[in-house]
Point group: C2
Chain length 129, copies 2
């Protein structure tokens, strides 16, 4: 699979894919004899993981660390497991913050909808509006 096909499949730029490889967010991608990237299933699985974890707010630095440990082999199993658990906690915490914001938003949106229906345009909302 060419870099272009991978871009299109995951809606990501070629520059980003090259960047991920360069800094180590994914391991070195398979190349043709001429040196052109030819993504195999494994390469694509790494790309998919990288995108998934970046979308969940994991820093590039953490993905690089995971790949580094992975490449060091079986002795890093514990370190990798810990990294994943840490990542899990980070995401769970972030999700909680998203829920708090959603609650606030739903409250505000409710207020606005009443205002729009009744034509009453002022109210008190956390002492702010």
């Amino acid at each position: 699979m060419t870099i272009k096909e991978v871009c299109e499949k995951y809606d990501i730029t070629a520059d980003t894919l090259r960047y991920y490889e360069r800094v180590g967010v994914i391991p070195a991608v398979t190349r043709t004899a001429g040196g052109i990237r030819d993504y195999q299933e494994t390469d694509i699985a790494w790309v998919e993981n990288a995108i998934c974890f970046r979308d969940a707010g994991m820093p590039v630095e953490m993905l690089i660390e995971y790949v580094k440990l992975f490449q060091e082999g079986d002795l890093t199993i514990d370190a990798r497991a810990n990294l994943l658990k840490e990542a899990r906690e980070t995401i769970v915490e972030a999700k909680k913050k998203y829920d708090i914001a959603l609650e606030k938003l739903d409250y505000k949106i409710g207020r606005y909808e009443i205002a729009q229906k009744t034509g009453v345009l002022s109210w008190d909302d956390c002492g702010e509006e």
Copy 2:
């Protein structure tokens, strides 16, 4: 309330609070005769909202837009309501991505736990490990 007290209350730096005010993420804060910030309940409510929505990944630009509309008065009620609904959708979408990442993580963590218990250190995981 001084800027220091607000920092401590919300675990945020004074620089960030000043930055938020400068760029318009929050409206101008109440000042003492000498020009020193003296946060009132309303100011604090705005700070709290700003932190909450930033924590949920809303861009500073969107918060600035909301404050701008708010200051323009009642004619912007519809625009503000739309902004909030758009924000809501963005957060709901982001949360979905977090859930996908969590699923992947839980799967991997499960694999690692089995590996650690059984001592079997290699396996196939999405063709990657």
